[in-house]
C-alpha cells in the first residue's frame, strides 16, 4: 500500500474563502481566551499571525475581521475534498479533527505514471480549488500524515525502510497529545527515531496505551482501522458565504471552487451531468432557485462554471445571498464527447452546441430554438421547435411563406392573386377548420398570405412572402 496524505494547515480559513484584499483571521476560543488560528496574507503583512491573542491582533490591526471558527464548515470542506480526491483513487478518507485527507495511490501508479505525477496533479488541483495544502507519501496512513506536516518531505515508497526513513524526522511532526510531546521534549527526544527507540512495554505503562497503538500504525506493525470514505450518491454542496453577498459576481468565487470539486467527484465516479440546481439562500426571502442545463453531458468544471456564470448574469437577486447550495440529482454517462480523440468536424459541432448552451444560460432556454416539422394540415401546426437534431423532410413540401404570423383579422381586403388553396382539418376530432388561402399584395407592395375562414367568412393575415 502507498498513501498520499494532504494536510491543510489553513483549513479553518481556506474553508471560508475570505477575500484576499481585506485582512481576515479565524479565531478559536477556550473559556474567555480567544486566539487566532488562521490568517490571510493581508494579516501577515501587518504582522498579525496565528497564535496571537484576539485583542493583540485588534490592537495591531484594527481593521482585521475576526471570524469564529466553524467546525461543521471545516468538516464540509474536508468531505468535499475527499469526494474530489476520488478522481485519483477509489480509496479516500479524511480526519476532521486533524484536517487531513488521505488517498491510496499504489493501485493507480501505473495509470498515472508514477507517484510524483499523482502528487503534482493533486497539488495543482488543490491550488486551483484555492486550498493551501502540503502532501506526504508513505506506505502507512500515519507516516504519510507525518510527511505532510513537514515542508518538502521526501517520498517514502518502500515499507521495508520506513522506520529508517522516519528516524531523522523531527518528533514535532508526530500527532501526539500535548502532554506527551511535552514529556518527550523533557526527556530530550528530538527525532522520531528516538521516540521509536523507547521500549514499548514501559511506554504503554508510562503514557497512554493509545500512544503505542499510534506508533504501531505509524510504522506499519498494526493495520490502520480507518474505513474508506464513500461520497454520497447524490451531489449536494452547501457553502455559507462570509457575510452577505449582494451582487452575483460575489458568488462566482465560491462557485468556481464548488464546480471544481464537482469535477473531481464526477471523474471519480466516471459520470457526468447535464443539469444542476443552484439554490441561493436569502435572509427573509424565499431562496432563489436556478437551473443550469447543457445539451451534452459535461464534467469539465470550467465549462460548468461558464454556464453558471451566464445563468447568474441574467438573475437579479431579491435579497443579499447568505449561502449557496449546488445539487445534482441525475447523472449521465459522459459518452465519448469529451475525449480528445474526436475529429475536427465533430469538435466544431461540439463547440457549436456549447455556444448554444452559453446562450441558453444567458437568455433562457426558450430564447434558443431549433425548428422542426410536424405532419399536420393546419399551417400553424405544421412546424414546431425541437431539441437536438430533426429528421429531414421526407415528402415534397407545399409552397409556403418564410414568415408565419399569428392570424390577425383584416378588414381592408387587398388585391388577391392566383387560385386559392383549401386547407381543411379537424373535422374528425371536432375542431373543424376550413380555410381558403390566397396570396395578395398590399398597397405597400408586400406579398401577403391570407385566408378566409370557412365558418365565419372572416379574412385573416397568416404569413408574409418575405
Amino acid at each position: 500500500m502507498l498513501y498520499l496524505c494532504m494536510s491543510f494547515p489553513q483549513l479553518s480559513l481556506d474553508a471560508r474563502q475570505p477575500p484576499a484584499d481585506e485582512p481576515v483571521a479565524v479565531t478559536d476560543r477556550r473559556g474567555a481566551r480567544r486566539w487566532l488560528i488562521g490568517c490571510n496574507s493581508a494579516c501577515f503583512s501587518a504582522g498579525v499571525r496565528p497564535g496571537m491573542d484576539a485583542t493583540t491582533a485588534l490592537a495591531l490591526l484594527p481593521s482585521v475581521r475576526l471570524i469564529e471558527r466553524s467546525r461543521p464548515r471545516e468538516g464540509d470542506a474536508l468531505k468535499s475534498l475527499a469526494a474530489w480526491a476520488e478522481q485519483f483513487s477509489s480509496w479516500t478518507c479524511y480526519d476532521a479533527e486533524r484536517h487531513l485527507v488521505w488517498l491510496e495511490v499504489y493501485s493507480g501508479l501505473r495509470y498515472f505514471g508514477g507517484v510524483e505525477v499523482v502528487r503534482s496533479r493533486v497539488e495543482h488541483g488543490l491550488a486551483q480549488l484555492g486550498y493551501e495544502a502540503c502532501c506526504g507519501v508513505a506506505p502507512t496512513l500515519e507516516a504519510a500524515a507525518v510527511l505532510a506536516r513537514i515542508h518538502d518531505a521526501p517520498t517514502i515508497e518502500g515499507s521495508t525502510d520506513l522506520v529508517e526513513a522516519l528516524a531523522p524526522l523531527p518528533m514535532a511532526a508526530l500527532a501526539l497529545q500535548e502532554d506527551v510531546s511535552d514529556a518527550f521534549a523533557g526527556l530530550g527526544l528530538r527525532t522520531i527515531g528516538q521516540v521509536l527507540a523507547l521500549p514499548r512495554d514501559s511506554m504503554a505503562r508510562r503514557f497512554d496505551p493509545d500512544l503505542v497503538d499510534y506508533l504501531d500504525r505509524l510504522t506499519g506493525r498494526r493495520r490502520d482501522p480507518r474505513k474508506p470514505f464513500r461520497a454520497p450518491a447524490k451531489y449536494r454542496r452547501t457553502f455559507e458565504l462570509l457575510g452577505n453577498v449582494e451582487t452575483t459576481e460575489g458568488l462566482l468565487f465560491p462557485l468556481r471552487r464548488i464546480l471544481g470539486e464537482l469535477q473531481g467527484y464526477l471523474i471519480g465516479r466516471d459520470t457526468a451531468v447535464q443539469e444542476l440546481h443552484l439554490e441561493l439562500v436569502h435572509d427573509g426571502a424565499e431562496p432563489t432557485r436556478l437551473q443550469v442545463r447543457s445539451s451534452r453531458p459535461l464534467r469539465d468544471g470550467l465549462r460548468l462554471f461558464a454556464l453558471v456564470r451566464e445563468r447568474l448574469e441574467r438573475t437579479t437577486l431579491p435579497q443579499p445571498v447568505e449561502a449557496i447550495t449546488v445539487t445534482v440529482d441525475v447523472f449521465v454517462p459522459l459518452g465519448d464527447t469529451q475525449l480528445e480523440l474526436i475529429e475536427g468536424g465533430q469538435r466544431k459541432d461540439r463547440d457549436w452546441e456549447d455556444l448554444l448552451d452559453t446562450l441558453r444560460a444567458r437568455m433562457g432556454d426558450i430564447a434558443v430554438r431549433k425548428l422542426g416539422l410536424q405532419d399536420q394540415h393546419l399551417p400553424e401546426q405544421a412546424w414546431c421547435t425541437v431539441e437536438g437534431k430533426e429528421r429531414q423532410p421526407d415528402g415534397t413540401l407545399p409552397d409556403r411563406p418564410l414568415w408565419l404570423l399569428e392570424p390577425r383579422q383584416v378588414t381592408l381586403l387587398p388585391q388577391r392573386m392566383g387560385m386559392p388553396e383549401r386547407i381543411e382539418s379537424g373535422w374528425w376530432d371536432g375542431e373543424d377548420q376550413q380555410r381558403d388561402y390566397f396570396t395578395a399584395e398590399s398597397r405597400d407592395g408586400a406579398k401577403l398570405w391570407l385566408y378566409r375562414d370557412g365558418a365565419t367568412g372572416g379574412w385573416f393575415l397568416h404569413g408574409l412572402w418575405a
Binding site: A367, W403, K447, A466
Partner: protein
Amino acid sequence: MLKNSPTLPVARAAVLDQILRSQTRVWRGYGTAAVPSVATGLVALDRLLPGCGWPVGALTEILPVCEGIGELRLLIPALQRIACDQARPVVLIRPPYIPYAPAWARAGLPLHRLVWLQPSTDAEAQWAAEQILRAGIAGAVLLWSTTTADMALRRMQLSAEEGHALCFVFRGPRALRNASPAAVRLALHPATDALRIDVVKARGGHGGSVLCPLRCAA
C-alpha cells in the same frame, strides 16, 4: 504630382499598376475589391458588390421599405450555400415573425442548421450576435435590430470581421437617413414581380440599382 507629369514613362506606369494590384486594400474605382464573398445568386447584383457577392466578414445592412417584399428570398441562395455546401449553421436573431419551418426547408435550408434566437431585448440580441460571430462557427447571422446606435453596428462590424461569416442586419427604411459603418447597404423596394435593390453603399464595390426577379408566389 502624378497629374503634373503627363510624360510618365509607360514602364513606370506598369510598375505602379503592378504595385496597386498587389494591394488588395486599395480600391481603384473599377472592378470590385478582392474580398472573400458568397455569390448572391444574382449576377447583376454580384457585379456591384465587393468581391462579387455578399462580403464575408463584413456587415451587410438590408433596409426593406416594408416587410414581405422578398427581403428573405434575396438571401436564400447564399444561405443555402452556407448551410449545405459549407455545412455551417445559419442563425436568425430576433426575427419579427415566426420563421416558418416548412418554407425554409422547402427553400433548401436543412432545418438542423437553422437556429432561431429570440432574446427579449435588443441589447441581448446584439450580445448574442457578437458571441456567435466571434466563435467563428456559424456561417451566417441575420439580425433584426431596432437600434439606432452607431456604436452597436460598429461592434457588429468588428465581430463580423473576426468570425468570417456573413452578417446581415435588417433595419427599417428610416435608418437610411443616417450613415452606417456597414460595408454594404441595400435599400429594397417592391416592383412588379421583382425586387428593386438600390446599392446605397458598397465599400469596394459600386453604387447602382438592380431588379431582382422574384418567383411569383403561389
